[in-house]
């Protein structure tokens, strides 16, 4: 019977937690978020038609996550509550991805250091700007670290392979159709597989819409129409 050691260095403690979280995320399927000329595409490998990895947070803010479902579901709902309450207390235009991302980062950092187990999640928060130059993509890790990205970002088990597959792709200059096909190819890059439409989940934040809420899911028919193969 082994005993817990008297002393564990902080570095070791954090490394163990980080390894634990990373392993949990690496097991799962991936998501890629890409800017295109008239909006932002969120695309996930997800065979389930109901357990979503991609969601609407607010008028111009989308959410994508990988990792443990119940954990990122909790974060998703907290984000919706944050956004709706802020938009109601002030104004709809006062809800920003930056504010939301800060709240996510602090929550994740707190859970990573103080809770008995870190969240095994990686998130993307995307904000559709009024102009393409003001689009924002944020990637958040299990420990609360935030990186802002310019063209596209991938999270999940195959994130590195997907990012490599999309290296140099200036997606913000391309159409939705082009970007969708790049995304599908990239998601299948690590396993050299061509993903079927019913194994995908997709949504866009659409700059051309006249509605206040710009988030729109792409159903199987819409996705098939975009595919070139």
């Amino acid at each position: 019977m082994s005993q817990a050691p008297f002393y564990v260095s902080p570095e070791q403690l954090m490394k163990d937690r980080a390894d634990f979280a990373r392993k949990g995320i690496a097991r799962g399927r991936s998501v890629v978020v890409m800017r295109f000329d008239t909006g932002i595409l969120l695309l996930a490998e997800n065979p389930s038609p109901t357990l979503h990895k991609i969601a609407e947070i607010y008028d111009r803010i989308g959410f994508a996550a990988v990792g443990k479902y119940n954990e990122f579901e909790t974060l998703r709902q907290a984000g919706v509550r944050y956004a709706d309450l802020r938009g109601y207390s002030y104004d709809r235009t006062d809800v920003t991805a930056r504010g939301l991302t800060n709240a996510y980062a602090q929550t994740l950092a707190g859970v990573f250091t103080t809770e008995s187990k870190p969240f095994e999640v990686e998130l993307v928060v995307a904000e559709l700007g009024l102009t393409p130059e003001t689009d924002q993509l944020y990637r958040l890790s299990y420990d609360g670290s935030v990186i802002d990205e310019t063209e596209h970002v991938a999270i999940g088990g195959q994130a590195d392979a997907i990012t490599a597959s999309l290296a140099g792709v200036r997606s913000s200059q391309m159409t939705l159709r082009e970007v969708f096909n790049h995304g599908v190819t990239a998601l299948g890059a690590a396993t050299q597989a061509i993903l079927a439409t019913d194994a995908l989940e997709a949504a866009v934040l659409d700059r051309t819409t006249t509605k206040q809420r710009t988030f729109r899911r792409l159903d199987d028919a819409a996705m098939s129409a975009l595919r070139e193969d």
């Binding site: 919706v80 944050y82 996510y104």
Partner: protein, 265 residues
């Protein structure tokens, strides 16, 4: 720990009103000083009826405080979401707050749950919100809504009226609320038929509101000077909620006025 308030992470509710009540109660309308009713704008006519393709709801644009007109352009009928509309009679400020809260309640549910509420579900939520508003109502700040919409299970649409205690009643043909509702209802009894097409429905709505404004000082008629028309929304399953543009409403109103002028001679 910084970040989201713990309540955001542990909550299992999909109601925005509940969230606001626990996290930001100061943002909600709440009982205040007594006897505000005399100083708050109110008065209205809102009508709603079945059409061939769904439902139509219309409301006038006037808000009054006693004998004074507080607003010529108040919008009392609004889209609650893509498939339903709500119109409110009563104290103007509380009415607009309630509409805003109700819109957010429906949107919040849809985002948290990932699915829209059924039309009956929406009506029940509205009834519950009215019950919560009873404190204000007892101080004279009453609001009474008219709610209607379509959903997949009832594509022809449903109309719901309410009382201040939150009682919910389904109306099957037409209904009207507000200080001018008696006159509007009389007009609708004569003008309404079950199979009105889009143009005919607008004509009936304009004429009924015209009659209400003719005899109720708290209901405004079409304002040709400022080009302000009654608010008219149609809802059907194919197009969702559509607002009729004010120019066509004013054209229809012009025809009504011409007819009345001719028969008055």
């Amino acid at each position: 720990m910084a970040g989201f308030p713990p309540a955001f992470l542990s909550s299992t509710s999909n109601s925005f009103v509940e969230l606001a009540r626990s996290s930001a109660p100061e943002a909600l309308p709440h009982p205040g000083v007594r006897d505000l009713a005399e100083q708050s704008p109110e008065g209205t006519t809102i009508i709603c009826f079945r059409t061939a393709s769904g439902i139509l709801m219309a409301g006038d644009r006037r808000a009054t405080i006693g004998n004074l007109i507080a607003s010529h352009s108040m919008e009392k009928v609004k889209a609650a979401d893509d498939y339903s509309v709500i119109g409110i009679a009563g104290t103007a400020g509380v009415a607009l707050d309630l509409i805003r809260l109700f819109q957010l309640e429906l949107e919040h549910y849809e985002k948290i749950e990932g699915a829209r509420l059924s039309l009956n579900g929406k009506a029940n939520r509205l009834a519950a919100m009215l019950r919560g508003n009873l404190g204000l109502a007892l101080q004279g700040l009453t609001v009474v809504p008219l709610f209607a919409g379509v959903d997949v299970s009832r594509p022809q649409g449903q109309i719901f009226s309410f009382d201040v205690t939150g009682g919910k009643y389904e109306e099957h043909r037409f209904h009207s609320i507000g200080s001018g509702s008696g006159f509007a209802r009389g007009a609708l009894k004569k003008l309404w038929r079950a199979d009105l097409d889009h143009e005919q429905a607008i004509g009936v709505a304009v004429e009924a509101l015209f009659d209400a404004s003719d005899d109720d000082s708290a209901t405004g008629g079409p304002d040709f000077v400022r080009q302000i028309a009654p608010t008219i929304f149609t809802v059907d399953l194919e197009n969702g909620v559509t607002e009729v543009d004010s120019a066509s409403v004013l054209d229809t109103a012009t025809e009504v006025v011409a007819r009345r002028t001719a028969t008055a001679r």
